[in-house]
Symmetry: C2
Subunit: 368 residues, 2 copies
């Protein structure tokens, strides 16, 4: 194998596929990146058996071939080389020669034969979503996936496509986050995607999120295609919680409040709350004021927040972290908080659209 | 005590004095910040008994007094409050009330009587240096202080004032860094300042380094005054190494090389070198080329660097980390490397001034 490629292109591609390379694996070859030179394309592949990431570079192939190179050292070298053309040559003994201007590296590679192939996902029934929108869907829900491996299904997010809508739903037993968006296709589908996969997709989307992401499913796998990158992940097996049953349809108190004002107040109250149990803060809702308070050994805090209240007065406690997680990802200027009793869940929604629902359970307040 | 102060001023002052507050101390009061309101000034003090930092704010004192408040929670609260006036009031039971717009905190403080006073340093024979210059002197030497507590004197930097020059010198047994600058005063003085103190001075100087820093000594302490901040530190006791005896006055080979070119080559070579012993790299100096190479189990690297050589050819090995540390802080475009033999130290100097000397011992090369 022998190829010539610009340093910029190669380091971009390495940075992307490295995200699927495991550092702690029992299969040593998985610590490497597969390079495959064929048909005027250099393909790079990282694969940890849960997620596989492929990236293509169109470049000069002097001689076709393939090799697996240790991801860590290869990435470090490519990133440190100057902004010039890099020549990579592999000999019969799997020695890899990397040359760029005055630099000359020799590494010991591994035969590509041993590298596990990525699962095949047929690209039919492909859903097309803007990258920007999909990134937002991940951002607004992923924090509500469970970290608890005893219920594996909840460590992922449900992606459901029905009635020309795509939904992303995450539930961890204490709260639920649901993001909905319009989709110009009415072929139904659903799958539970590991949160780790969605995190990687999110990172690969980066900040420049013009263009679309293409999504295809099989029974066991999901494929995301973003420009020249393909991310193939296994799906989580099992039945996801019926989220519709959980979301209350009615309320007794409805509070309208400025998102930023509430966020700032809860952030300050949580400085004390985190010294206590459960990060507990108390909402005391009465007329046009909501008091956000916390009372712990080292001191106490009271924050006054201006609200518009429809319905009954109420005192209720929350884990402030669960509220902050949601308030940080809601972009709307104002939100509704809907309550029934002090022991039933609170529903948070933006006032200006119906695309986002967050539900959080209250905590029992011991003292205060 | 009762004061009113802008959030901006207060959070700036807290950020500065917090650097002297110890998180792990056996004396609980040292986890606090002393607030002292007197003569239309609010003084804040942090003190870990090695370093004390004071900062003053000119502000409205409604009632004079003093209190010690837990540094961590006080700092967190002040930083999170809105950009508005903050009122701090202390009652007879050392309860501290912090009020700002709609926020109302109550914390339990401690009597200021217990807070250890900072050592008194008389401000005579004060040396005045530009902040920018002093920051550079620290940056170019501090990395060569020793981390090894068995020779405590080497964990600090020597500051020596003589012949209208100020010198800063650090030695760790493997290398020496010396930075010299002109000083418009000829009163001699010397002291060994803990590297921790110089690190804090460096941080407090920050990026806006117009203006001067004022330095005063006693036998046991040093005082740095930067605008409204005073940093008082104990000095290290004992005799510093006679650095003049260490620096070779002659050489057999003198290499002139572009700083950035050498830095980049050594950085790349060190990617492999760090997989081996001592981060060892080899310089092979011959005519107008210096080869920088490393040869370890996983591969090898050779870098060609263009040089101008005066004197004899030479092969010599170094710990690449020790070279990188110095090359990163030399701002001059070109440097001289002076060698005598392959087992004697190398001296690095900028070509365009005589203010900086770096000396580094070679390593024995096992293979290569």
């Amino acid at each position: 194998m022998k190829i010539i490629c610009s340093q910029k292109q190669l380091s971009t591609a390495v940075n992307i596929v490295q995200k699927a390379v495991s550092t702690k694996t029992t299969l040593p070859i998985l610590k490497g990146i597969l390079l495959e030179a064929k048909n005027n394309k250099l393909k790079l592949v990282g694969n940890d058996l849960d997620i596989g990431i492929e990236n293509y570079i169109e470049t000069k192939i002097v001689q076709e071939g393939s090799i697996v190179i240790s991801s860590k050292i290869f990435g470090d070298i490519i990133r440190k080389l100057p902004d010039a053309d890099i020549e990579i040559e592999v000999d019969d003994q799997n020695n890899v020669f990397i040359r760029c201007e005055n630099s000359d590296f020799k590494l010991v590679g591994q035969s590509a034969v041993e590298f596990p192939e990525l699962p095949y996902v047929k690209e039919e029934n492909t859903y097309i979503i803007s990258q920007d929108l999909f990134k937002n869907m991940i951002r607004q829900t992923i924090f509500a996936t469970s970290q608890d491996e005893t219920r594996p299904i909840l460590t992922g997010s449900l992606i459901e496509i029905k009635n020309r809508n795509i939904l992303m739903v995450a539930i961890d037993g204490y709260r639920l986050a649901l993001r909905k968006a319009y989709l110009n296709i009415d072929i139904g589908n659903k799958a539970v995607v590991p949160s780790k996969t969605l995190n990687e997709v999110n990172r690969i989307l980066g900040n420049e999120t013009e263009g679309n992401i293409f999504i295809s499913f099989t029974d066991k796998h999901i494929l995301f295609t973003i420009d020249k990158t393909r991310i193939i992940s296994r799906l989580l097996e099992g039945e996801f919680i019926n989220y519709n049953q959980i979301i209350p349809k009615e309320y007794k108190s409805k509070v309208k409040v400025k998102t930023k004002e509430l966020l700032d107040s809860i952030e300050r109250a949580s400085l004390l709350a985190k010294e206590g149990k459960n990060n507990a803060i108390k909402f005391s809702i009465k007329d046009d004021i909501m008091n956000v308070s916390s009372n712990v050994d080292i001191g106490s805090v009271n924050e006054e927040v201006n609200i518009e209240l429809e319905g009954e007065d109420l005192d209720i406690g929350f884990n402030s972290k669960y509220l902050l997680d949601a308030l940080k990802v809601i972009d709307s200027e104002e939100i509704f908080l809907e309550f029934t009793t002090s022991v039933s869940p609170c529903v948070i929604k933006p006032t200006d659209n119906e695309n986002y629902i967050y539900l959080v359970l209250p905590v029992r307040l011991s003292k205060q």
